[in-house]
Symmetry: none
Subunit: 208 residues, 4 copies
DNA sequence: CGATAAGCGAGACGGTACGTCACGTCTTGGC
DNA sequence: GCCAAGACGTGACGTACCGTCTCGCTTATCG
């Protein structure tokens, strides 16, 4: 309104599809070669662009990788099945599929890298905390409102448990070179949710 | 007689303390500078040895880092307090301290790197699976024997939950630049264990 | 057009003055430190360029040094004074100055290295043989035409004598840590030429 | 007499043949690989001794190489044929054979290296100057005494010419990958001596 | 004859240069 | 002004060699 979007115009506009091609190439390279062996030259070559085109958009390797990986972020279409257990099951299932997928796994790795360097965690940390944490909080809030959940339960701890369980599950699968099909993930989601939800004492089995 | 060891003794023996000095230096460098910024020259310099001494023992950067980090492995002195809840509490506390410590955190990062590259996971995967998994299995077995735990509960899932929760806790702490004191870790361990152990419905265990 | 040159123009062109700067730096380093103590890093640093810029142009140390030294080739602007003795005097004087100068001396050393390894003498051998040999041949031919020289005299032997004498002269000077001024070189050139030209019996030329 | 050769005795005496084996190995390595590619480890291995045995006898690479090469020194059994021309012919022949032989060629190379570094030329320079120079001086002196040579001729210049000619001859042979048989060397010696001795004008051919 | 001393093969040690490769920047000509 | 190409200065990589240093052993002389 009014400003006309600043100094737009003058000179050739940026090639429209470039960002996506580069992000895809970066993700593919990262998945295939890991952090060592991930080179900017290779990304540019695979994307079919020049290095200047890459550096014009991202300041350095970290920035590109972070965006490549977080852009592939988890679909967080508000989970809401009507019951607490249903919500958790769907959430855990989504998380498991995410962690086992190449893009999701890469996202976790980058999170660890970012967390290890203590720098430029500005946006990243907030994204993880607010977007993901908020989701669990909403689920918990609805469950408390429905009388399904004790208000004393901390959503933060619940988040740690659920996210951590799915993460470690993917880690173990990779270390053992297993690939999980959808049915296996479903079964595992069920086990995780039940373990969290229920008393696990011997006589506590009466939840059938 | 006794040692055997084949062609021992020819030539100058390797300096006894060198391995430890180098591993310690590697860990310190990795902790201070992260994976990028971790250089073999710096490790050698800090350890006060020549690069050849390093490369004589480890084939490359990855190998050194992996060993540096896994050698600092979690103390797994058999946890056994007499009750299931006590065992879990102590285990979670140990894991939290480990994940929050520089060495333990680095170990997790390397685990992710190893899992991402699909290579040379020979010893590593087994260590993680058997040593750590075994610990939890033993705790569960004893609990079942004492009648504290339903035999249907999968120790694998329990492991994922516990390890994952501590890992994610450390990750969040780092992303938010928080450092946790021992009391905080204790409280958090309590919350995690209770969340796992108990039915989390609104009125506690009387869900029959 | 006109230049043609095939696939020219793509990418940043090589910095124009770099070759010369590097060659000059190489020659200076070689002169100051000798073959041992001649390092590529030092050459690059002195030339104010990166190592990659050096290795982009020369495959290795030998190649750089060879070119550095042969590029400083003897000025072979056709000697032609009108008399055989005059030609020889000027030639010997030039050769003496060349052999006593740092660049010329280095050129001789490299010639010896090249000759010792039996490799990549492709261009080098021809340069020495044809360019230098040709010069003496032309001088001899003109002398024969003028009736100053017996046609039976082999220009090859004369070349060996003259080049060898100047080379050994420089060698001895260096071994004795002497530096020769221009006047001394002139006197020595005179002695060499006279010794070659004349019968050295006790009463001069009347040996019939 | 008296002293009994100082503190000889006590402890194991040095292995008698070691020096020779090492020198031979050094010469062979130098001849095959040149100065670059000449390594102490290879010399020790080829000689079948440990590095300590080498370094016990020579302080460093230069010292070993210098001695290896000068020990193979030219046979300087006083040339004395009775005539000046005969003496020169034999001397030039000896020098040519020396320069064309691997050991002699290596000796020249080392002379150049030593002369280029301006260091520790103490013994070397004197050896070259006095031993070799003296030989020519004696030949000249006898020739003057016999009335065959003008006293004004400088033996130094004559030395430069003769040594230089043989050196350059060997250099050219190597650059062209030629190997010279004995007959060729004989013929060449004749040409060199005649060129030096005689007036080379067109009517000066009456020396038959 | 046993203690003492030096030589010896082997090979690890702290350095340092090698030649390669990637980073992030810069400089072309073309679009 | 964006783009592909690619050269640039910098600096780490993993290798190889230098000259030194320990080992365990052998070989001599001296007390």
């Amino acid at each position: 309104m009014g400003t006309g979007e600043g100094a737009r115009g003058r000179g050739r506009p940026r090639t429209p599809g470039a960002e996506d091609k580069i992000l895809a190439a970066a993700l593919a390279e990262y998945g295939e070669r890991g952090w060592a062996g991930f080179t900017m030259d290779a990304v540019a070559r695979r994307a079919g662009v020049g290095k200047s085109t890459v550096y014009l958009r991202w300041h350095d390797k970290d920035a590109l990788l972070t965006e490549a990986v977080t852009s592939q972020g988890l679909e967080l279409t508000g989970v809401d099945t009507g019951t607490f257990r249903g919500d958790l099951l769907q959430l855990v299932h989504n998380l498991l599929r995410h962690a086992h997928s190449p893009g999701g796994w890469a996202a976790w790795r980058v999170a660890f890298d970012v967390a290890s360097v203590h720098q430029r965690l500005g946006g990243f940390s907030e994204a993880v905390n607010q977007v993901h944490g908020l989701q669990v909080e909403q689920i918990c809030q609805r469950a408390v409102d429905r009388g399904e959940l004790a208000a004393t339960v901390s959503p933060g701890i619940l988040t740690s448990l659920i996210y951590g369980a799915t993460l470690v599950d993917a880690l173990m699968a990779r270390l053992n070179d297993r690939t999980a099909d959808d049915a296996t993930l479903d079964r595992r989601a069920l086990e995780i949710v039940d373990l969290v939800l229920l008393d696990i004492g011997p006589e506590g089995a009466d939840h059938s």
